[in-house]
Symmetry: C2
Subunit: 354 residues, 2 copies
Amino acid sequence: MIVSIFSKQLSMNQNHSSASTPVATPTDLTILLEPVKDELEAVERFLNSNLIDDSPFVTELLAQVFKSGGKRLRPALVFLAAKATLIDKNQTDERQVILAALTEFIHSASLVHDDVIDNSSFRRGQETVNRKWNEKLAVLAGDLLFAQASICLSRLMNPRIVGIYGQVLGDLCAGEIRQMRQQFSLSAGWDNYIQKSIWKTASLFAAGTQSAAILNQRSESEIEDLKSYGVNFGICFQIVDDLLDITGSTSSLGKPAGSDLMQGLITAPTMFILERKDAQAERLRHLIETRAVASAEGQEESLSIIRNNGGVESTVELARKYASLAQNCLAQVPASQSRDSLEYLLDWLLTRTN
Amino acid sequence: MIVSIFSKQLSMNQNHSSASTPVATPTDLTILLEPVKDELEAVERFLNSNLIDDSPFVTELLAQVFKSGGKRLRPALVFLAAKATLIDKNQTDERQVILAALTEFIHSASLVHDDVIDNSSFRRGQETVNRKWNEKLAVLAGDLLFAQASICLSRLMNPRIVGIYGQVLGDLCAGEIRQMRQQFSLSAGWDNYIQKSIWKTASLFAAGTQSAAILNQRSESEIEDLKSYGVNFGICFQIVDDLLDITGSTSSLGKPAGSDLMQGLITAPTMFILERKDAQAERLRHLIETRAVASAEGQEESLSIIRNNGGVESTVELARKYASLAQNCLAQVPASQSRDSLEYLLDWLLTRTN
């Protein structure tokens, strides 16, 4: 609710410099992804391909994981980055489909393992692997998705991209481990928060946009710009995710608001309150330190403190800052419909509700 | 006990054709691995290196996983294959250490995930990650070991080896999934059993020996020989593993004999009995079909039927067959101490008790 009130102020809507500037910034994801519609359909088919063996069961497992859909934001960024940096726009490149699929395989593997860890039964309305079969199979299914990603990686025949994704796998684990070890900890600062967001989220987005430019054999400076776009997009995405935990509704999130807080995950909206030196900060600190925040009442009180003392507004500002940094990375990218989408997606990020 | 009775007959001990033929076949692993002692020390250090970040906790996690030791058989095969196919034996190649480490990282990742799945508290006398910390961290620790492997893979800068290990990851999952789905199933035949053994076990051994030869830029026929050696070594290793579940003791195995049977895993010793058309076969089939084999009495009766009706002897013969196939793959490998060890390791395999 709160996010939708703010969304009107959020639109970055500043002098879009591309050839096809529309009057208003589109924030409808379907419109934004129109330039890569065919590619997203191709990746959807690819995600369901069993690259490992001829077992119908492995195929069934993949279908179960991927039928819940999802926004396919990582593949979309790969394709948009690929098209925006391609000289011959009509050339289709099967390697970009493989790159997009590999990025989504890694994302899905981490979700399947998260569902085991959190003992979740549903994701986007579909049964999780651990619920439909069992935990043992779900651990294996996650590993199997990593294996699918590795097979994709080998098909690209590009050692530099192997290195990038190797580091991404490490970053994902490093981010999750750091998050787990800092539950209920009040001592971690902003650098730590941003670093964790890079590891957990932004690294994978950045690997996709950077590698798309590498496959297109762009210059080092263009590759670096696309990577930085992905990093800043990813940090912004994570900040908005953390914001939605404070402002979102169960129906839009698919989980109750305040879930992060209950688990002792201290994110931007909470950190903005804690850094103040007033009674509200003291009270919130107390609720976390005593772990009262893990109870329904403590959680409700904490959410109120954060919502009523500017935690949301400050977090929106922080997200805008990273969206703006991402936008700056597009300065040298030539005008095209795909470049427009990369830019407007930053507006969409700031207004998304799930 | 039964294995040690048979071990005297098992030694293949047939006209070893190398330069330094000893009088008796050494079956002491320390002696067999002497040619690669320095390399195994180097890999031990490498296994404890945190390739992901500068977090002391990740380093602590790696130390916990690797301090339980283990025979490091996969790294040993990599180094022996590397030395046996190297023209300048004094040349040291850091890439072989990375290859060996990557092979052990993948093996360890699957063990850490197995321990989560089986809720095991100890492995080789050391606390498992799930016991020392928790399940959530153990799922992540397995993923982290896969990430370490991926980073090693990228450092080798060899697209062919990336492809080999990508397929290995798929094979490991395919093997585990097939095994899980065939629990208590009596319809799977020998082809299925061997295929499962290749996926679960032999693929990783073969990836190591094959890739060692690739890094040494050997001819395609030499690379193929080393790969086949690894496949047959691995199948033999798995058959002996399955045998030890029938003949071994809790003290040597670190788990009770008959554990596989209790879980409904139908392996070679059981299959040899089941394919007979007599009352013993009928009784064993009944114990499995009714799942009586999962009870202490049913398990004891099943073990007796298998042990007293030639299940052990037939399995030993099968293992010898694959050891012999592996030995044949060494025919074109020039005489050296490392080649001897590759050959004598096959004898060791047939006599090992854990």
